[in-house]
Symmetry: none
Subunit: 237 residues, 4 copies
Amino acid sequence: MADALEERPLSRSAQREADILEAAIHLFGEEGFQSVTTRKIAARAGISEGTLFNYFSSKNELMRAILERIYEELRDNASVILREHLDSRTRLQLLAENHIEVMSRDNALFMRMIQAYMNVDLAGYTSIRGSVLHKLNLSYAWVFDTTVQEAQRRGEVRDDLNLSALRDLFFGGLEYLSRSLFLHEAFDRMSERVGSLVEPLWQSMLPQAPAEPDRLEQACERIEAAARRLAKQAAKA
Amino acid sequence: MADALEERPLSRSAQREADILEAAIHLFGEEGFQSVTTRKIAARAGISEGTLFNYFSSKNELMRAILERIYEELRDNASVILREHLDSRTRLQLLAENHIEVMSRDNALFMRMIQAYMNVDLAGYTSIRGSVLHKLNLSYAWVFDTTVQEAQRRGEVRDDLNLSALRDLFFGGLEYLSRSLFLHEAFDRMSERVGSLVEPLWQSMLPQAPAEPDRLEQACERIEAAARRLAKQAAKA
Amino acid sequence: MADALEERPLSRSAQREADILEAAIHLFGEEGFQSVTTRKIAARAGISEGTLFNYFSSKNELMRAILERIYEELRDNASVILREHLDSRTRLQLLAENHIEVMSRDNALFMRMIQAYMNVDLAGYTSIRGSVLHKLNLSYAWVFDTTVQEAQRRGEVRDDLNLSALRDLFFGGLEYLSRSLFLHEAFDRMSERVGSLVEPLWQSMLPQAPAEPDRLEQACERIEAAARRLAKQAAKA
Amino acid sequence: MADALEERPLSRSAQREADILEAAIHLFGEEGFQSVTTRKIAARAGISEGTLFNYFSSKNELMRAILERIYEELRDNASVILREHLDSRTRLQLLAENHIEVMSRDNALFMRMIQAYMNVDLAGYTSIRGSVLHKLNLSYAWVFDTTVQEAQRRGEVRDDLNLSALRDLFFGGLEYLSRSLFLHEAFDRMSERVGSLVEPLWQSMLPQAPAEPDRLEQACERIEAAARRLAKQAAKA
DNA sequence: AATGAATGAGGGTTCATTCAT
DNA sequence: AATGAATGAACCCTCATTCAT
């Protein structure tokens, strides 16, 4: 009893739930969703198998709860980032770093849980649309949209951006980068790698359509030339 | 169509193998790798369960064969694209469209098989690196690198591109786009969506650092000036 | 009989375990290890197949448990024999009878389990040496060694016996005798047959190297001569 | 064709049969009866799976054929030994050595085949009695009986031997010795070990009940001494 | 005689979930 | 609330044997 005195004392059942989640997160990360049995989870959480199902009605539900927590954390971190940093470029960089950090943690647990969840969702003849995962994902992806839209309001980036495409590039690119970092165990250079990824995206968003100046010059000159010729012909006529 | 007409009939065993693959592809796409049993596959292929294992030594091996064939197809298509189109921008667009098409086919089978395979790889004590999947992936990702590098040789794009980051953005972005199309069953507008995704990438690769707004402003003014002149002359005429 | 009357009822799970063992022993004895399926065992024990694996982690483990129990029984019986009987010749006889009894029971289950276990051991990459079976065997064979060594200390048998060879003859001979009894269903004369087998062994252990007939003849004559002399002197007296 | 010219040409089918047996013997010895599949045997024999069954109607039949050959070899060797050696003690030694050699060969193939065969026999609800194995065994065990009986006729050993018990001791002891040698890979001292095993058996067969000569001598002397003392006392008296 | 593709009836084992205690 | 024994359907895979060619 005494050892919990200093902390906000979780109710017994809240503590149990936390224990189960901790155990599941650790084990899923270590061995993968399929390989981990509810028996192992219960054992690591220090409870009996039956009790586990008093807290989470199924193994899939446990997975869902974990995903929810991770998304919640992603959102919370994102809020802090947006609150503490005003510069849009910095915001994107930090959002990306946070995304990578959370995805890679616990032996890439998050990535693998998402994959497992997609399998479950599809296997169960459930449409992905309307699935819990989809909702979580939407509510989180919103922070990217917000950031870009605010940058647009400030005039930092172009107005005619295709937000959906940029979002796909951003999160898709980060997922691939995450796999790459995981593969090569190169997390020490994460921040730099993230920078390399965000930079081209950012460049493409800047107001100036990167046009080939020479071509623009030439185009202007051609129009002017045409105008001159027309003027001459008009004069002749 | 014509290219299949002349084919000699497959040998009995080649036909069986094709039947099994067809059945597996269909079922995996429909219900997911885990949910499909070897019994179901055998039943759909019209053979006994034992026979299946004469052709593919395990269920995982069957999955591997499917992945290999899809990667092979991706590479073949990519080769044709590179051969028939010289313009780098067009190449990227077509490579992307091909990627999406193959990924989305059969109820997003490919995407899901990759995920399933990663689970298998991670669950075993095999490192992903050095796994079959990784090799296939590498050999295919090479076509993107090649395309960009040739564009660099031609001077179409900058020399100092971060190839790895662009690759992650390209394939990662396509994967997310693919999910999105799949979700909204919006494949009719696929080509356009791909264009929206490739465009910012391409822009970021162009040699020109984004011009200052002033230059564009000036160009517009010159064009408008030319237009005014033309208008006046027209009025005279 | 009396010793079982007072026993407290087995706990539920201990009872289940006993049920499973009983079922397995019976079936293995009747049909052989390979032919008996876990399904059959579970059915006979009145449980589901899954439950069986809650008690014994594998079919092989079940076999191991049976072997262990039989060896334990052999050792226990042997201890009682050694405690209750001091005469070495009697000890050997009773040890042999006990061995035969246990080996022959349940349709020669024990003999066959050992063979099955050796197959398992050899098939796996485990060396027989160091295997569980080997340890059990060693700890039991020890009672024979002990008996002989005590006989040596008492001077009943020679000091220069080859214990290892005698042990092989003892247990090997008993195994063959057991097969023979089993074959001819001649267990009613078991005790007599065991005696015939132990006798030559015992004879070979006795201190006296076989004397030449002449020596024995001479000794008898000398004794008779002495007796005659005594008889004469007695007559004088 | 030409390559078989110099040897007594086996008919093609005889050669095939020999190939199959060779393959089976090698594989059974290496991996055990159960673990070896007919596929492996066919592959090693250089024939197709189907062909194997033209020569041996079942896998069990193949095992039976192997056992028969080994027993035949045992008998043949035994005949030679009896023909070439007249001394009974030497005969037993050589018979024993031959037995061990054949049993231990090919990774203890023979021992393991016998075990496998017993399982098959029992599993098939066949009585061991009347089984092929039993007949083979009987016809071979006959050489031991013959040897002992001839020794009895010559008067080398006692007339009242229990032949059955001695046979069990002989073959049973050899089987255990064989296991022991196999276990400790101590075949270099085989001949010596066999001697240690045969010796006590032989001793027990010798006509003279083994008595300690010294003790007999001493006893006689004591009796004589006692007689002398009595004589002296009687003389004094 | 020879082939080898096809068989198909199980084999042992797993594990999320339930429910009587 | 907590337990943990019991479930049982389903899993992937094996392999001796057959038989059309």
